[in-house]
Structure formats: structure tokens, C-alpha cells
């Protein structure tokens, strides 16, 4: 859940989606990374192969519904040990995520921070993979998805609230009310059509590296279209 901040209360905030928006990786990259690092070679091969074969299913379900996608996607973590996931989190950041940070990400955050806007990342990615990146970007406020673990093993389910689509917008509203943030003075950035509710609640929405659908929506609403690559 959101790491609380020591920053003073300010008028506006910048809300960022993460994967595809600030970094070029997506959820599947993380899954693939862990699939290759199973306890035995055979498990690694099997897990990698099944992950690879699942890609078309992920692609189709993501177009259909982010909720269905999440249900299917996080099932892939079922049975994995929490220790192991946390142990490789640093390697995941150094090898996969850090090189994937868009060059414009640093500029955007720096400019936004210089205006006194609170920096908040809202992502459907897992907490264990996001934390090192947040430290790298100097962002102390972030909200992620969290896997449910029983006896140290992932159940393949997420703990509520599941960060996706309308939940993100709802979280932003609650957060803003609690923190005294003016939504009309706030910014939101995302690359995904599923985050349309998040864009809709702030005064300054912007899309980043959008796909065709989101680009058309942005054009229709006259929202800025950024390319951080």
C-alpha cells in the first residue's frame, strides 16, 4: 500500500501509471524474468515455455477486460515462494526494469517535482518489483498490487484493492480527499486505455506512448500526447 510521505501537503499531484508509461516493460516481462529463475532447470524451462504460450491469451484478455487479464495473469504466480520473489527483485530491477526506464521519464518527473506536485505512482504491477524503481526515481508515494501468500507461497490471487481501471480513479479520489489534493490542479499520465477513469478525474490528463485506441481517445478529448522514448 502507499508508502506515506514526509512531504508537506500541496495543492496538486502528478499521478503516473508505471509500465508502458514510465518504463517500457510490462507485467509479462516480470513474469518471464521469474519464470526463468525457478528452483530447477526443468522447472525454469517449463515455466518459461508455458508463459510464452500464454502470451496470446494475455493479449486478447487485456483487450477485453483488465480484470479478466489480472485473474489469469496472476494465477501464473501460484505456488511461487515469497522469499524467492523478493530475493530476485533487485536483479529484476537492475537487469530488466532499470534499462527500460524511458529517457523522458526523468525529465517529466523532475519538472513535475519542481512545480511542487506530489509524485504518485499507481500501478497494477507487484509491490516487490516496483519498490526498487521507486527508490531509483525518488518517488515515495506509490500504490501497487500485492500477491496473496499463504505459508510463504503465492496463491495466485491479489489482495484487495486490485489496482486496475476504475479502482485507480477511485483510489485517486480517496487519496486526494485525504491529503487535501486539488484534482483540478493535478496531472495523470498513462499509456493504457484501461486507465481512462484515472485520466478522467484530474484536470490535466495526458497520454504517454499510447496505442491507437488511446491515441484516438486523446485526440478526441484534446489531451496532450507525450512520447517519452
Amino acid at each position: 500500500m502507499p508508502g506515506r510521505l514526509q512531504e508537506e501537503s500541496l495543492a496538486g499531484a502528478a499521478f503516473y501509471d508505471l509500465e508502458g508509461t514510465l518504463v517500457s516493460t510490462n507485467l509479462v516481462h516480470t513474469l518471464g524474468f521469474y519464470a526463468r529463475r525457478q528452483t530447477t532447470l526443468m522447472q525454469s524451462i517449463t515455466k518459461t515455455a508455458t508463459t510464452f504460450l500464454s502470451l496470446p491469451v494475455f493479449a486478447v484478455t487485456d483487450q477485453y477486460s483488465r480484470k479478466v487479464f489480472n485473474d489469469l495473469y496472476f494465477q501464473r504466480y501460484k505456488g511461487q515462494s515469497e522469499d524467492r520473489l523478493r530475493y530476485f527483485a533487485h536483479d529484476l530491477f537492475e537487469d530488466v526494469i532499470k534499462p527500460a526506464v524511458f529517457p523522458g521519464t526523468y525529465e517529466l518527473i523532475e519538472k513535475s517535482r519542481s512545480l511542487g506536485l506530489r509524485q504518485v505512482v499507481i500501478t497494477g504491477a507487484l509491490d516487490l518489483s516496483v519498490k526498487p524503481l521507486m527508490e531509483h526515481l525518488g518517488i515515495t508515494e506509490f500504490v501497487t498490487n500485492r500477491l496473496e501468500f499463504v505459508n510463504g507461497l503465492a496463491t495466485g490471487r491479489l489482495l484487495p484493492p486490485v489496482m486496475a481501471a476504475a479502482t485507480k480513479a477511485s483510489w485517486i479520489r480517496t487519496y486526494s480527499e485525504r491529503e487535501g489534493i486539488s484534482l483540478s490542479d493535478s496531472y495523470a499520465y498513462t499509456d493504457s486505455m484501461s486507465d481512462l477513469p484515472m485520466l478522467s478525474v484530474v484536470g490535466h490528463p495526458a497520454v504517454v506512448n499510447p496505442d491507437m485506441r488511446l491515441r484516438q481517445t486523446a485526440l478526441h478529448h484534446d489531451w496532450p500526447i507525450l512520447d517519452l522514448k
Binding site: 502528478a14 525529465e107 517529466l108 519538472k111 496531472y187 495526458a206 486523446a218 496532450p224 500526447i225
Partner: protein
Amino acid sequence: MALQLRKKTHESVVYIDRDSAPRIIPSGEDFILEDLPIGTRVLYPNPPIKGLPNREAAIRYALNHPLGCDPLFAQLEPGMRVTIAVDDISLPLPPMATPDIRQTILEIVCDMLSGHGVDDVHIIIANSLHRKMTEWEMKRMAGQRIFDEYYPDRYYNHDAEWQDGLIKIGETKHKEPLSLNRRAAESDLLIYVNLNFVPMDGGHKSVAVGLCDYESLRAHHDPQTIRDSDSYMDPARSELNHKVIRLGKIVDEQLNVFHIETAINNRMYKGDMDFLTKNEDDFTAFDRMKFEAMRYTMGKMPRSARRKLLHSRPAQYELIACHAGKTDLVHEKIIAKGFEQYAIPVRGQADILITGIPDISPYNVYSILNPLLVQVMALGYHFNFYRNKPLLKKGGVMIVHHPCFDDFDHQFHPSYIEFFNRLLPETRDAFVLREKYEREFANNPSYVEMYRRGNAYHGAHPFFMWYWGENGRQHVGKVIAAGAETAHVPAILGWERADNLTEAIAMARSYMGNSAEITMLHQPMIGIADME
């Protein structure tokens, strides 16, 4: 008065008579044919001054015989650090046929630098807060050879938002700060390659504006400065120019600048479109055929295709003067040459001024002339093309012919959209807009990123476009948008609308009287009404 006015005074001043031909009026991407009321005075661009027969020789001569300093070759030493700054795509208009004059100058200068052992050379486009030029545009402007040798590491756009790439070089006694491109400011020699298109261009504006940051620019790009400039196309009476000269003094104290300025004639079109700048009474049968063929063809095309077609026709400008050396001395000569080309002696102000707005402006190259740009062309550029006093009487009516469509380029003009739709409905007061919203837009992280990493105009640029029309707004009594397709665009701009020119003239006469003197600027034209 009227009879005296109708005496033939200059070849570029034509009066509509009983048997005069209808006039061609550009209206966005269209060209319409309209009969004007008898007695209407029509101003045409002057005939083009003959271009210099050998422009390479003229440029070499200027470099070797500079004004107020040593020749360029004598200032070069092996190992020195040199930056060449060059005007951006906002001029000339339309973009000129290749090779661009800037390409010729760059090739000559770069060869000279190389021949003198100067290898540390960067070429920077002095785009200020304009959009950055695209790779294709940069190649077209500089030519393949320069592009291949310097792009992208040593041939790039100025970035007014890259803090590490800027350095404060001073402040005037009027508290106007000046921060410039660090590479340019820290070079042993800064060579500026200018192309002068209107009298507002060139001189100290080249470096002090072209390579500065937002904070430096806002010190003089403000409504009061524009109000105090009568007009900003007349350097002697332009407060904007006076402020820029103050900044130029700091530049001259801190930097070693070798200024190369060029003047071009006004041969905008030739061949298939040359009739657009001719007096319709002098049209040959072939001219009429060309016009009808163009109108027929364009009438079959959608607007975007018409726009594309017009933007694909390069201008045929020719070099008429080139000088180099110290900025003030060089600029004085180039301005004089420019006025020789552009000045049209005019006696008597008009009650009603008609101007068609063609799809040509410094800010919509390969893009859309959005409503804010229509405004800046009408109340900014077209209104300000005068010397001594405005062509239009105080309180007169300006008729603008344009479809006034509500269309914006999301890639180039993102902040314009918000400015037009969110701010203008709240207020059209330039002072309020500046105080309340300018910094918000300038610092909007999305607009900053789109300027830096994309090809968007800076977030503050739409404000400058609005201030640019401040003179016109204060002076005119009414603006009527003739041929406006929409009602809300003229309304947001504070204008009235009319279906066509005839209706607009009738409306204007109802305000100004039936004996109102009417003058039309025959667009497209670059010309300065030199008022007696």
C-alpha cells in the same frame, strides 16, 4: 479625399473601377473570386527585386568584407570552439525551394572552418520557444552534406527548457534577464546565419531571442511591449525592438558574434501559381486558365489534401543582399534593403480593411492554421504591416476572410487547444491572461515534455500569439470574419461573423457609413504600407 486617393500613386496600389476584374482572395486553403465595391483600394506586393546572379559569390564577399570587424577567416584559429546558430523553419514562407540560402551559407562557412583547422563546430537551430524542427526539415534546410556530417550530435535544435544547456549572461538595467544556450555562449566564436523575411526579423533578435529561455523571453514578449510598438514591423518605432537592442548590448559584451544576414525578394511563386501576386486586371488568358484549373482541382479535394498541396509548393525567393560582421551595422543595411523590396507608399488611412488569410504563417509550416493563428495573422501580422501609422483608422473595421474552422494540430500546437477552449472563453484580456495563466502553461510538465522531446510549440507560445494581436485589438473597432464556417470560433476570438464578403462589407458599412474608404491587402503578400 476619395478622388485624390484614387489617383494612381504607385504600381502596387490599384483602385477598383467599374470595369475592374474580380479579385482573388485566399481564405485558408481556398481561393475565392470576389467583386469589390468601386473605389476599393487594393495593395499588391511590389514586383520582386532582381536576385543576385551568383549568391555563393555574394556570400563569400560578405564574409571577406565584413562590417565593423575582421573577415571571418582572420578570426579563425585551429582548435577554437565555434558555434553556428541558424534561423528556424518559421521563415521564409512558404519554405523556399532548395537549396535554401542557409544551406549555401552553412556549406561555405563550414568549408572555411574546416580549412582553418576548426573542428569543434556545432550547428544549432535558433528556434527559441518555437517547435523543434523535424529531422526531415533539418535535412531539407541544411542540405544532405551538412546533415550527414553534423546531425544529430553537432546539428540540433536549441532547447529552452534544458537547464544544464543554458547559462545566464546578464541582465539589463531594466531588470530584463538574459539566459542563452550554453554551447553558443561559451564558444570562442558564435556565427549567426540569418534569413531576413520581415523587418521584425534579424538584428539582435537573432541571438537574444532565438537562443534564449522562457524567463528571458517573457521580459519583452508581453502585452504592454506590443502595445508600445507602433508597429513591431517598424524597427524605429518598435518597443520590442528597443528592448531586444538592450539585450543585444549584453550579448555583444559577453560573446564574440559574427552576424551573417541576408535579404530576399518577394518572389513567392512562379510558374503555375505566379498569378496569385498579379493584378487581376492584367491577367492573360493563360493566367485565368491556371487559376480556374487550380480552383477546379482544389475544389475536388478535401481540406487536408488542399493544405498538403499548398505546403508542397516551395517559394522561389532569391537572395538580394548579404552582409556580415557586427550585428548593428549588418542589420541596418539588410533592413534598408528589405524596405526597398517591401515598402509601398500609401496615402490616407482606410475605414475598412479587408484581408484574406492564406494558409501561410510562421507557425503553421506543414501544419494547420488554427483559430489562434488566424487571429495572429489578422490582428498581428497583417495589421502591423505598416510604417508611420496604421493603414486602418482608429476604430475602423477589419474584415478577415477565413473559414475559421475549429481545427488544431495536436502534435505541434497542444497548448493552443487548451488556451483557446479553456482560457479565451473566460477572458480575452491579454494582461489578465499573462498574470493568471502564462506561467501555468509554460511550466505544464506535459507541454514541456512535448516541446523538448517532440515537435510542439512551447506551452507559453499561444500567449505570445495572443499578445501579438494586442495592437490590432486595441486599434480596430470591429473584426468581421467573412466566410466563417463556425459561429463559435469568431465568437471566442471576439469577432463578428458574416457568410461572405458582400455581407461583411455591408455590415462594416453599417458601422462606418456608406462612404467608408475600403482598402484590401491582396494576399498572399509581404509588403509594408509606408504611410504618408
